[in-house]
């Protein structure tokens, strides 16, 4: 096999029309998709002693088996493969009809032909080779931008005869970057300040300000919580409550404090193994406990144990490797060079947890050992004091009871019994206080290693009760070797291996995900899988550049993000010609700014923030905002019912919303939030009637609309047009044009007339508010409906 960096191979051949065929870009995806299932890395399934994922070796593509050579470099005539992919003979054609794989198209055949004729060169799979700094591209237009991102994007545009779009207008820009960095739209004041700032560095100053906001950490954390399937319940069977909020809060703080991504990874994989581990490190190790867990009595514990470990390793695969490692649970991976032995060698790092495989009934306070208390020293001191008092009180009660039992005289007995009543009352009050304090002390489930290392066997066909060959802790063979600090490899060694600059996956996977966050689609679209069955990158050099500069910056996340959002590529307008949308609906060429519907949390948070209801309290207990009745009832096995929280807490950001895996909040899932029972690196975005119904009819959202309507009527008591502008700008960050103003004005007039005629309807909307006479009520009702309509506008829900 020839080892070479992706960059040197792909930097010239950019267009599909290019004459040069690249193995990694053009040939490999075809072979992987059509051939590897039977002629790939999985030795068990391999047919005719042929593997096409490598050239050499007994089974390699160049081999001759029973007189037939699969690929003879330079000659299609002498290559059996060419005959097999082009023949009409149904018995001989590859892939065979019964495999239900598409036959190769004429274009694909042409690619294979050119590849064989030019010597059928193999290359190492691009994602498994460390990234290299790309050469500076030669451009026709040297004026557009000096930034490396832009120059690499422009190189592709020029090769495709495309031009970048102009810069988005300032209103669009501040809205875009505010939503992208904080998950919240800009306020009217913020817009005004940005519009009036003519300094050349105004935009950079805005970016710096946004990166410094505490809402930045909350927003970025939310993507991470999808990725690691963070939730407030166990996710199986009785789906009991679990307490993981300390982990969630740590993720927010880590992003806000800009903890280096290398440490971010280390703490999560092996925080418990640091000597004198800090509480942050221990909290972060909860990453290893985020898997689903079942309660005792319904499954076999051995099987539950196995499932937990597989879940844990799968999470590591998706999160840090961008690979579907769990495919190798039952057999060698069919597409990637990951053997079943590799899988169980990784498994061996994660199966030595000192914890029960199932929860014993409903875990107290949602905690399953091992867990740690995190309270302040003062809290612990108070708790101790309370416990002492409680013990004393308990003694007093018991002594008195004895005394009463021994007392013969009825009168005295009565007096003593009264005394007992007051003592018991005192005891109960003390106990109540102690328990409250106890609950207030945050605790977190952590990773803990057993003293003795558990032996690990390959499980034959992935069956928990079919142990095969014994394996030891190790990293996959096709990746750089693991460095061990001691005799036995540890999770700390593994964590260090992940963030070693020679690891080709860790940085690539995360910079691709960040790119996805700012453009809607990653440079590798399949951000959960950059392996053989993932897509090849749209801009390989750009991905390499970002990867290398990220590692060089010391895994500095804010620097990476700043580099992305300052680029002219990011700042382009999303307005485009229809044919451009048709040709490139997902904006893979980056010839314009991306435009896509916002995630569920952003839509809800925007409604809360623009209506003024948003409560900015950070951290702590998860919140249950009101939701339609009966949802929990329909799935519960324990009689559990949803009870909405009261007070201000229900207006906290959606990130803090209580997440029951068995029935996640509908405001979120209807808009494509995942259920959080598996690691999700990218959400889908659909348009459904259920979403329309949610945003039109959810009574909480209507309440928020009323709140903004009330504000608008207060702020602009007399001036209709200014009131419209106030409302429209608050919601969309834009001002309505003349036509829009007219349409909105018509609506409000019509509605107001209707509500005057039907005061009962107006009363229903104004319920609970002291509004005034019928006219005032009709006015507020009409404006409420108007704001509700604005919340449903395409431009409101879209980040553009």
């Amino acid at each position: 096999m020839i080892s070479c960096s992706l960059v040197c191979l792909l930097s010239h051949a950019i267009t599909a029309e290019a004459k040069e065929v690249s193995f990694n870009r053009d040939v490999f995806p075809i072979l992987s998709d059509r051939c590897f299932a039977c002629h790939g890395p999985d030795a068990h399934e391999r047919k005719s002693k042929l593997r096409l994922d490598r050239a050499d070796g007994e089974d390699g593509a160049y081999r001759t088996h029973e007189g037939t050579t699969a690929i003879n470099p330079g000659s299609i005539k002498d290559s059996e493969l060419w005959y097999r992919i082009t023949t009409d003979d149904a018995d001989e054609v590859m892939p065979p009809p019964k495999a239900h794989k598409k036959p190769l198209s004429k274009e694909e055949q042409a690619i294979v032909k050119r590849w064989i004729e030019t010597g059928a060169p193999y290359e190492r799979f691009w994602a498994f080779v460390p990234a290299k700094k790309p050469d500076a591209p030669k451009l026709k237009d040297n004026n557009w931008s000096n930034l490396p991102i832009d120059r690499l994007v422009l190189a592709k545009l020029e090769a495709l005869n495309l031009h970048p779009s102009t810069e988005a207008d300032k209103r669009t820009l501040i809205r875009r970057v505010s939503l992208d960095l904080t998950g919240l739209p800009p306020t009217r004041d913020e817009i005004k300040a940005f519009l009036s700032d003519d300094r050349s560095e105004a935009y950079e100053a805005l970016v710096d300000r946004l990166l410094g906001k505490k809402q930045y950490g909350e927003h970025v954390a939310r993507y991470w919580l999808d990725l690691v399937r963070f939730a407030d319940t166990n996710g199986m069977h009785k789906d009991f409550y679990r307490n993981f909020i300390a982990y969630r809060d740590w993720v927010i703080r880590a992003f806000n404090d800009n903890l280096g991504y290398d440490d971010f990874v280390r703490y999560q994989l092996a925080g418990d193994l640091f000597s004198n581990a800090t509480s942050d490190q221990l909290v972060a190790s909860a990453f290893n406990r985020l898997h689903l867990i079942i309660d005792r009595g319904t499954a076999l514990p051995e099987e539950s144990f196995f499932k937990n470990v597989v879940d844990r390793v799968t999470a590591v695969g998706t999160t840090f490797m961008g690979m579907t490692v769990h495919c190798a649970t039952c057999h060698d991976h069919k597409y990637d060079p990951l053997t079943q032995k590799d899988f169980y060698s990784l498994f061996a790092f994660f199966n030595n947890i000192d914890a029960a495989p199932e929860t014993g009934g409903r875990p107290k306070n949602g905690l399953q050992p091992p867990f740690l208390p995190l309270g302040t020293p003062e809290q612990h001191k108070n708790l101790e004091q309370f416990s002492k008092q409680l013990a004393e009180s308990d003694n007093e009660v018991k002594e008195l009871e004895k005394k009463i039992a021994g007392e013969k005289e009825a009168n005295k007995k009565k007096v003593l019994s009264q005394e007992l009543g007051s003592l018991t009352g005192k005891y109960n009050a003390l106990k109540g206080n102690r328990d409250r304090l106890d609950r207030e002390i945050p605790r977190v489930m952590v990773m803990k290693e057993r003293m003795e290392v558990r032996p690990t066997h390959i499980r034959i066909r992935g069956q928990y009760d079919a142990p095969g060959e014994l394996v030891t802790r190790n990293t996959p063979e096709f990746l750089p070797a693991l460095k061990k600090a001691g005799e036995t490899a540890t999770r700390m060694d593994l964590a260090d291996w992940f963030v070693d600059p020679s690891n080709p996956l860790t940085a690539r996977v995360v910079v691709n995900r960040f790119w996805q966050q700012f453009f809607g689609t990653g440079l590798v679209k399949t951000s959960e899988d950059i392996g053989a069955q993932g897509e090849v990158p749209s801009h390989p050099e750009l991905l390499d550049h970002l990867t290398v500069s990220f590692i060089e910056s010391g895994w500095d996340v804010k620097t990476l993000i700043k580099q992305i959002v300052l680029s002219r590529t990011y700042r382009q307008s999303s307005v485009s010609k229809p044919e451009q949308f048709a040709k490139d609906p997902e904006n893979r060429n980056l010839a314009r700014g991306s435009r896509y519907r916002m995630d569920a949390e952003m839509i809800r948070d925007q409604i809360l923030s623009t209506s003024g209801l948003l409560v900015n309290t950070m951290f702590g207990k998860s919140v249950k905002p009101p939701q339609p009745d009966g949802l929990w009832k329909s799935v519960t096995m324990t009689g559990e019912r949803f009870k909405a929280d009261g007070g201000d807490a229900i207006y906290r950001r959606s990130l803090y919303t209580y997440w029951k895996r068995g029935m996640p909040p509908p405001q979120m899932t209807i808009l494509n939030a995942p259920t959080r029972d598996a690691c999700i690196a990218r959400r889908e975005r659909t348009n459904t009637p259920a979403q329309a119904l949610l945003l039109l009819n959810e009574s909480e959202y209507l309440k928020a609309a009323r709140e903004l309507a009330r504000k608008a009527l207060e702020a602009e008591a007399t001036n209709g047009p200014r009131r419209l502008a106030f409302t429209y700008e608050t919601v969309t960050s834009k001002l309505p044009d003349e036509k829009e103003r007219q349409v909105l004005d018509d609506l409000v007039r019509n509605l107001q007339k209707n509500y005057l005629e039907q005061p009962a309807l107006a009363d229903a909307i104004c319920q609970g508010l002291n509004v005034g006479d019928a006219e005032k009520k009709a006015q507020l009702a009409a404006w409420t409906v108007l704001v509700n309509a604005l919340y449903n506008l395409d431009i409101t829900k879209t980040r553009e």
């Binding site: 319904t298 499954a299 609906p585 029972d677 348009n687 959810e698 609506l747 509605l751 879209t798």
Partner: protein, 470 residues
């Protein structure tokens, strides 16, 4: 999603030609990805379309086949004696010991109809329609705990997160309705272990997931206007949204905008349709009595009637869950109560569909996630007696209509009802059969996710059961 209009029409024509109705919603994702051969029909449509819709009555918790369908006089004979170890073959149970005693059937059986199907006396109504039913006594499954087994039956995998059968159908052949969901879920009786993952869409786009109907007159989440907003105000809101969104589309040309406009219009139609759907006042007294619907009561009977109404209005896949069959203790009482709750309405559904001429293209499926043991479950500690534990090795299901052969019984179990002795039908075989009745080759309806092509029926080879297909 941007779909070339011509392709859209081709597909529409295809569905019209073969009479399955136009999949009006949510086709776009499939259209963009599927390859249509020269015939213009999707590659997986390989069989004659016998059923256009499915009503699946899921008996969650696992009903005892030994008290309902699978008569085993031998159990009566052996009652109280330990089951021979040669039969058990090392099977482990969560609650009972391998040497537990045999428990005889708790109810008498009798033969019914021309087909001579044997049913227990707990199913008097179903006994009367026995000739319309097709029994499979040789079902077996891979899972012996409720949640994975229920997921296995509904999604083809014991792990949550896969696409459910209804979502596969919505994805593959769309819905016939443009004002109601294509996949509806209803519930009655006890709890469900598998949870909402049983009607999830897994890796398929989320618009294909089942829509759980809620109890009461407001079945679909947010389908009613909030207080203070009448239909006029709602229409005015939509008109405004349309105007402004069209304006944005003119300026930006983003095709996603038109998709959103369409979604809003369908939502508005659903708002009008839902109250009509839920209004039983036009149903005759005879029909209401046939099902045993009691006014104002939401239960399995009203769900069955609602299922028929949904079927009439074009919903593709209607799944009714009736929980509470998990008889670890007192299997006699459990079967008595649950059979009473479902017998009349299940039979009424078959009868009603038949008299309306809908049974021929509506497939009704009835069954749980596994069976129950021939051995008794009893434990003083858990206060259990006279129960039966989970039994994945053999259980009974029945189907009716939609192209299955009526009045036959497929498969047999051994004399203790422990193992299948003839014509075993694996859960994936059953799923393949259901898809085939809808015209679909189960091995070809697949979806690429994380680099793999997923199917409802998994990676191992499974087959539709030809003996069941008329």
């Amino acid at each position: 999603m941007n779909v070339p209009p011509l392709l859209h029409r081709t597909r529409r024509h295809f569905f019209q030609d073969c009479g399955i109705g136009v999949g009006k919603i949510a086709l776009a994702s499939l259209l963009a990805k599927e390859s249509f051969g020269a015939t213009g029909k999707p590659d997986f449509m390989r069989f004659p379309i016998k059923a256009k819709r499915v009503i699946y009555l899921f008996m969650a918790g696992a009903p005892s086949q030994l008290e309902l369908f699978d008569n085993k006089p031998k159990l009566k004979e052996m009652e109280g004696k330990p089951i021979p170890p040669s039969v058990i073959k090392g099977q482990r149970y969560a609650f009972i010991q391998p040497d537990a005693a045999v428990l005889g059937p708790r109810f008498p059986f009798a033969k019914h109809g021309d087909s001579g199907a044997e049913l227990s006396d707990r199913l008097p109504y179903l006994s009367k329609v026995a000739d319309d039913l097709t029994f499979v006594k040789s079902m077996h499954t891979d899972h012996f705990n409720h949640a994975p087994a229920q997921l296995f039956m509904t999604t083809g995998s014991g792990i949550p997160g896969r696409a459910s059968m209804g979502s596969w159908l919505s994805y593959g052949i769309g819905s016939e309705s443009d004002d109601l969901p294509g996949f509806v879920v209803m519930r009655s009786g006890g709890n469900l272990s598998g949870g909402s993952a049983m009607w999830g869409s897994g890796f398929l786009p989320s618009e294909h997931q089942g829509v759980p109907f809620r109890e009461g007159s407001d079945p679909i989440l947010h389908v009613s206007n909030p207080k203070g907003i009448d239909r006029t105000a709602q229409r005015q809101t939509l008109d405004l949204l349309n105007k402004l969104n069209r304006g944005t589309h003119q300026r930006l040309r983003d095709p996603e905008i038109t998709a959103r406009i369409d979604a809003y219009e369908m939502a508005y139609r659903m708002q009008a349709r839902a109250p009509e759907l839920m209004d039983f006042s036009k149903e005759s007294k005879e029909t209401l009595e046939l099902y045993g619907v009691k006014e104002g009561k939401s239960d399995f009977a009203s769900n069955c009637l609602l299922a028929r109404r949904l079927a009439e209005r074009g919903t593709r896949f209607i799944q009714l869950y009736h929980g509470g069959w998990d008889a670890h203790s007192n299997v006699e009482g459990n079967v008595k109560n649950n059979a009473k709750a479902i017998d009349q309405a299940s039979a009424a559904l078959v009868q009603d569909l038949k008299q309306r001429g809908m049974l021929e293209d509506t497939l009704v499926v009835w069954g749980g996630e596994f069976g129950r043991t021939p051995m008794v479950e009893a434990s003083a500690a858990l206060k259990r007696s006279g129960g039966r534990d989970h039994h994945p090795q053999a259980f009974t299901m029945w189907m009716a209509g939609g192209g299955v052969k009526p009045g036959i019984t497929l498969g047999q179990t051994d004399e203790l009802g422990f193992h299948v002795s003839e014509d075993p039908v694996h859960v994936h075989d059953l799923q393949a059969t259901i898809l085939q009745l809808l015209g679909i080759d189960h091995s070809r309806l697949s979806f690429r996710f994380q680099g793999l092509d997923f199917r409802l029926t998994g990676v191992e080879e499974h087959h539709a059961v030809e003996q069941l297909i008329a």
